[in-house]
């Protein structure tokens, strides 16, 4: 019983919203009707777009497992290393703070400082699921323009930080006990 309630919990806002909408229509509350009009447009938009993006993302995940890329990333540097690190980042999902532990892992496996920061840049804004949604909402030309200018900047930041940190004994630490985070 309790577990069933947990499963429904994410939908509580929707329930409240729909109840408010029903009341608006029942009592002829005009602003409510207008809000619902917006919502209906968005919902239709979402249903026709998002499921198909996730079909692509799921298939991509199965055919190009990220472990496969990760295996080749440690020692290599140069152009191939950069490309692999970007590809690895593109295959990830989740928010940026989820990339820090991976950066730590890469660092421990011997990835260069440059590649680690290129990884962070690519992770933050070139993940494939995100690109899919971005194209869906803002159009392919927006995404292309943003991606094309982003890549050289991220690589530049990687080189810059590597140059700055070269003689400074830079290490990436694993945070000690994560207090309440």
């Amino acid at each position: 019983m309790k577990r069933r309630w947990e499963a429904l919990k994410p939908w509580s806002w929707l329930a409240i919203f729909l109840a408010a909408m029903a009341a608006s229509f029942a009592f002829g509350f005009h602003p409510g009707k207008q809000v619902f009009g917006h919502f209906r447009t968005f919902a239709i938009e979402m249903v026709t777009l998002i499921p198909f993006i996730f079909i692509l993302v799921g298939l991509f995940d199965v055919w190009f497992p990220r472990e496969q890329v990760q295996r080749h990333i440690g020692q290599r540097s140069g152009l191939k290393g950069i490309l692999l690190v970007i590809l690895l980042a593109m295959l990830q999902v989740g928010p940026l703070y989820g990339a820090f532990p991976v950066a730590y892992l890469l660092h421990r496996k011997g990835a260069s400082i440059r590649n680690i920061f290129i990884y962070l840049g690519a992770f933050s804004s070139l993940k494939i699921p995100m690109l899919g949604i971005e194209i869906g909402y803002l159009g392919i030309s927006f995404t292309l323009a943003r991606t094309l200018i982003s890549l050289p900047l991220f690589i530049g930041i990687g080189y810059l930080l590597e140059w700055y940190l070269k003689d400074r004994r830079f290490t990436i630490q694993e945070p000690k006990a994560q207090q309440g985070r």
Binding site: H38, F54, L59, I133, Y137
Partner: protein, 160 residues
């Protein structure tokens, strides 16, 4: 919007067909994975759509155009950069907002700056980042990324 939906539907069906012909088991796995990810983001997605629906009624589009539109210039961009750097909004959720801003008349440069600072700069997660890289490097990385985000935004606005 509808055009891109058609493109994605065709792409998704085509990819599924090719994948199915090559390996049925993998295809089933992939579809399952995608479906699970979709269910995971669905509640937060629906929530933000409700929020945006209400916000669209409360905040008139003329106000959006005035503060973030083509005429808003540097002030609009600075505001977009500030909000984007501080706010913690997952990408899945920020794209519908960005699309609405564009529809309501915000300029591409401003929306791009908002999106890129959101993705690249994390003021709120700075303490966490510092615990990995040290404070100095974390601040440096965010500062460099902030500059990059501005350049990216200006470039996108110039191209589109």
């Amino acid at each position: 919007m509808i055009d891109s939906a058609v493109v994605f539907i065709v792409l998704a069906l085509g990819a599924t067909l090719v994948s199915f012909l090559k390996d049925r088991r993998k295809t089933a796995q992939g579809l399952q994975k995608g479906w699970k990810m979709f269910l995971n983001v669905l509640p937060s997605f629906v929530n933000i759509l409700m929020l945006v629906s209400v916000a669209l009624y409360v905040v008139p589009s003329s106000l959006i155009v005035r503060t973030l539109g083509p005429g808003s210039g540097w002030v609009g961009m600075a505001m977009a950069a500030l909000v984007g750097s501080i706010a913690l909004i997952p990408g899945f959720i920020s794209y519908p907002i960005a699309a609405v801003l564009v529809q309501q008349g915000a300029s591409y440069a401003t929306v791009a700056i908002f999106m890129t600072t959101l993705m690249l700069v994390g003021v709120m997660t700075l303490p966490l980042e510092s615990s990995y890289f040290g404070r100095r490097v974390a601040v440096l990385r965010n500062a460099l990324n902030f500059l990059a985000a501005i350049v990216i935004g200006l470039f996108v606005g110039w191209v589109l």
